[in-house]
Amino acid sequence: MSSELPRTLEQYRHAVRAHELSAEEYLGETRQLIERGDPQVKAFLHLRLDAARSDAQAADPSSPLAGAPIAVKDNIMMAGERCTCGSRILEHYVAPYSATVVQSLLAAGAVVPGKTNLDEFAMGSSTENSAFFPTHNPADLSRVPGGSSGGSTAAVAAGFALGAIGSDTGGSVRQPAAFCGVVGFKPTYGLVSRYGLVAFGSSLDCIGPIARSVRDAAIMMNVMAAHDPKDATSVKRPHVDFEAALQPTLAGKRVGIIRELQGLDVQPEIAAAMETTRKAAVKSGASIVEVSVPHILSALPVYYIIAPAECSANLGRFDGVRYGLHEDGRDMTETYSRTRNTGFGTEVKRRILIGAFVLSAGYYDAYYKKAASVRQLITDELDAALQSADVLLTPTTPTTAFKLGAVTDPLEMYKADVFTIPADLAGAPAISFPAGKDTAGLPVGLQLMGPRWSDADVLSCANVLFTALGGES
């Protein structure tokens, strides 16, 4: 075994194929890192390191992922493993089947070391809404890793896995990736199967890769992107090799800056990172264009109507009748009420209530229906803007990682999603990549967004900028 451990999935795969490293050896190293570091980071809800060792022993070095450890967010089913969604209501729930994406990853030679922590049912931006414990940011243990895929991003940042999968409904892959200094990619809605992802906002939910480099995210996307007949919203498209599509420059690319987001209050180092990245883009052959998305600032309120509406229906099934937590009451209604009152946390309850309200008779038109039409409007505006730009560059977050417990007002917390939500509403691909650090040494993440089905292009552009700013190629 070589003296230096590979830092990326790409390097790992190379080392394994060159017989410089075995999957089992690498997993052994990973295990040490986890056992040493996870008691502080708390990225995992459940570990399966012994099972992972057997999986690593059996891994085919020539398979696409060659036995690389890939962590799985605990709202994605892996047969035989618990799937808690970070909630008391599913604390003891064992997945009876595997998500399509998990099947694909396993078939491609991934080894799953464990299931990662998250905000309960993926609702949150800090992983503090986990019913079990918060996850800490490996860059600064006093800070949050972001959320809701905070466990997955922390695991990748801390070296507990070479990659991870998360789910992104309003930024839940990209925002924690920015906070933890890793890459998080939300694909076009319909590119990656949702089958086996516990639904939060079904029209928004996307499973995406979290990785140490953009190239690694592309390698993972090659495994994850496929039409799935089990998901009616999954779309049949010609096969794309995302890794092979990575280009060396931005020659001829138009990088758009959204006018309406200019006035937003962002941390100075993030504004500076935007400036540095613009320059790097130009240097790499891109032109910078200003585009307008007039209603983009309505994205946040629209999202906080549509996502809760869908979640209020999606989470109805956790009623204590067939599985999960059951709290007996005198009659069915009381049983439902007690089960759900005990089983759900505050944020989940808040969103269920908001959702039930915006769908209720007399309010549906004013809230849900209105939100759905504004969503369409924003989507159309983004489509129009992306006629004059190939990708749009924005910060991923207004600030870098905040301290645990620092943000208590839910509305303040929601604002952390202002840059990420538009891509979810439009179903468009978007990526967060590390772009330096702030004065406290905390990672800064920037976002590139493209038109639907331009995933390969978004990854390629992000790869150029990421490497130009010093990331692994």
Binding site: C83, V198, E310, A313, L359
Partner: protein, 476 residues
């Protein structure tokens, strides 16, 4: 008093698999054996639409003259109930697959059309089995085999005025769905279920208060429930007691309706578009080909039989009750050109036999050719009408031709000398004692020997000829 009735009918579509998953739709199996993550609503599972269910729904909507929409939408209907595992039912709300249309009915008052409001596709819920149905300590258990079964819900306009009309409507709808092969229409197995809305008003120009009746398990129950409800509401009006807008439960045994436990408030189902399913888009050319390939509908065929074949309304209705019967009839008249005689024979003799055997026509060996052959023999005087009743069971059970059956039943005399001679020689060999007696002059023994011969020929031999041949052969 004017009674106004509207119906909401759920028709279970005759698919092999459920609406949104691959589970079997087989009826009557062990509880919870046809289930999977999708129909159990397990976390992470997603629905995928059964294309065959859509085809069947389009077929029925087209036959009902509905406007079938090229684009329709699924919605979630949210409510909590233990037999609803997702806590919402996937149905269609704002944009159903079909609107409008009508179904003809015939009652003693004559024929007319009942207008339809809409038809939409949805999934069934599971089945709660309460203490009364089970022996497990008074618990309620749920069978999810039915959960996710494909349904079409057909909603009528408030266009009916009596229990008889509602009965006729349901009867004709069931005839149609069976005719088209889109559903078994079997109410006992829950393949057709019906909720009824009844309102009685003293003013014919104004509708009364709408009362919904549930738990109607047969056409007869529908009629009985409406008849009772009509009376009850009329009594309320006469007494000046207010009629509540409510759901009532029909009691099969008592023949009465009782108010169901009122829910706290009116149910708010919080419908919204189902994000897990894209809009349902139908190919206009496919819709056109469904229209073009629509077979003659039962009521169309029925009036053609009355008009062109001069059949009685009774016979025409009977023959068009089932598509296979109608087809059988049409194939038979091509071979036997007496529709009235055939219709009456099918309605009496054939129907009686089928009834005795508990079979449908297609489950027997009878074919249009054999039935036409039999009736032709009767027509030509080859056998009597009475004799035909002995032949028919053979045609039904064993599939022989009419002439074979007639022959084997000995309904045709055998006068073939050589055949009788063969029997005679056997009789002589087998009855040595009697032969001796005859030869020694006992004439009377010949009668016994003729009897033996008749037995051997199963009664077919011409007895006179048999006696003559025996006498010749016994000559010393």
């Amino acid at each position: 008093m004017t009674t106004t009735i509207g119906l909401e009918i759920h028709v279970q579509l005759a698919t092999q698999t459920k609406m949104f998953c691959g589970c079997s739709t087989a009826f009557g199996d062990e509880p919870n054996t046809h289930v999977c993550p999708v129909c159990l609503g397990l976390p992470g599972a997603l629905p995928t639409l059964n294309a065959q269910a859509v085809r069947l729904a389009v077929r029925i909507a087209t036959a009902l003259g509905c406007t079938v929409h090229e684009v329709s939408e699924f919605s979630r209907k949210n409510y909590f109930y233990p037999d609803l595992p997702k806590s919402y039912q996937i149905t269609q709300f704002d944009r159903p697959i079909a609107t409008g249309g009508s179904l003809p009915i015939v009652t003693e008052q004559g024929g007319r059309s009942v207008r339809l409001t809409r038809a939409h596709i949805e999934e069934d819920a599971g089945k709660s089995m309460h203490a009364a149905d089970i022996t497990l300590g008074g618990e309620t258990l749920v069978d999810f085999n039915r959960c996710g079964m494909p349904l079409v819900e057909i909603v009528t306009e408030p266009d009916m005025q009596s229990g008889d009309e509602a009965y006729e409507f349901l009867h004709n709808l069931r005839r149609l769905v069976r005719w088209l092969g889109v559903s078994s229409g079997d109410m006992e197995k829950g393949a057709m279920r019906c909720d009824v809305n009844v309102s009685v008003s003293p003013d014919p120009a104004k509708l009364g208060t709408k009362v919904e009746i549930k738990n109607l398990n047969s056409f007869r129950s529908v009629k009985r429930a409406i008849d009772y409800e009509e009376q009850r509401q009329a009594q309320c009006i006469a007494d000046g007691t207010p009629i509540m807008m409510e759901s009532r439960h029909f009691d099969e045994v008592q023949g009465t309706t009782t108010a169901m436990r009122s829910k706290e408030a009116s149910n708010d189902y919080r419908y919204f578009p189902e994000p897990d399913l894209p809009l349902l888009q139908l190919d206009p050319t496919e819709l056109e080909s469904v229209r073009a390939q629509m077979p003659e509908l039962p009521w169309e065929m029925q009036s053609r039989f009355e008009r062109d074949l001069n059949l009685s309304p009774y016979d025409a209705a009977l023959l068009t009750e089932e598509h296979s019967t109608a087809e059988f009839f049409q194939q038979t008249i091509a071979l036997y050109d007496n529709p009235k005689k055939l219709a009456s024979y099918m309605g009496t003799e054939v129907a009686r036999l089928l009834n005795e055997r508990g079979k449908t026509l297609s489950e027997t060996q009878l074919t249009p050719a054999t039935l036409a052959g039999l009736l032709t023999m009767v027509e030509k005087g080859a056998i009597s009408n009475t004799a035909s009743k002995d032949v028919l069971p053979m045609l039904v059970d064993s599939g022989v031709t009419p002439s074979e059956a007639v022959k084997s039943l000995g309904l045709e005399q055998v006068s073939d000398t050589s055949a009788i001679e063969g029997f005679a020689r056997e009789v002589i060999t087998e009855n040595v004692t009697q032969v001796e007696q005859f030869r020694s002059g006992k004439e009377a023994v010949l009668g016994f020997l003729v009897g033996q011969l008749m037995k051997k020929s199963k009664g077919k031999a011409n007895p006179k000829l048999a006696g003559e041949i025996l006498r010749t052969l016994l000559k010393p």
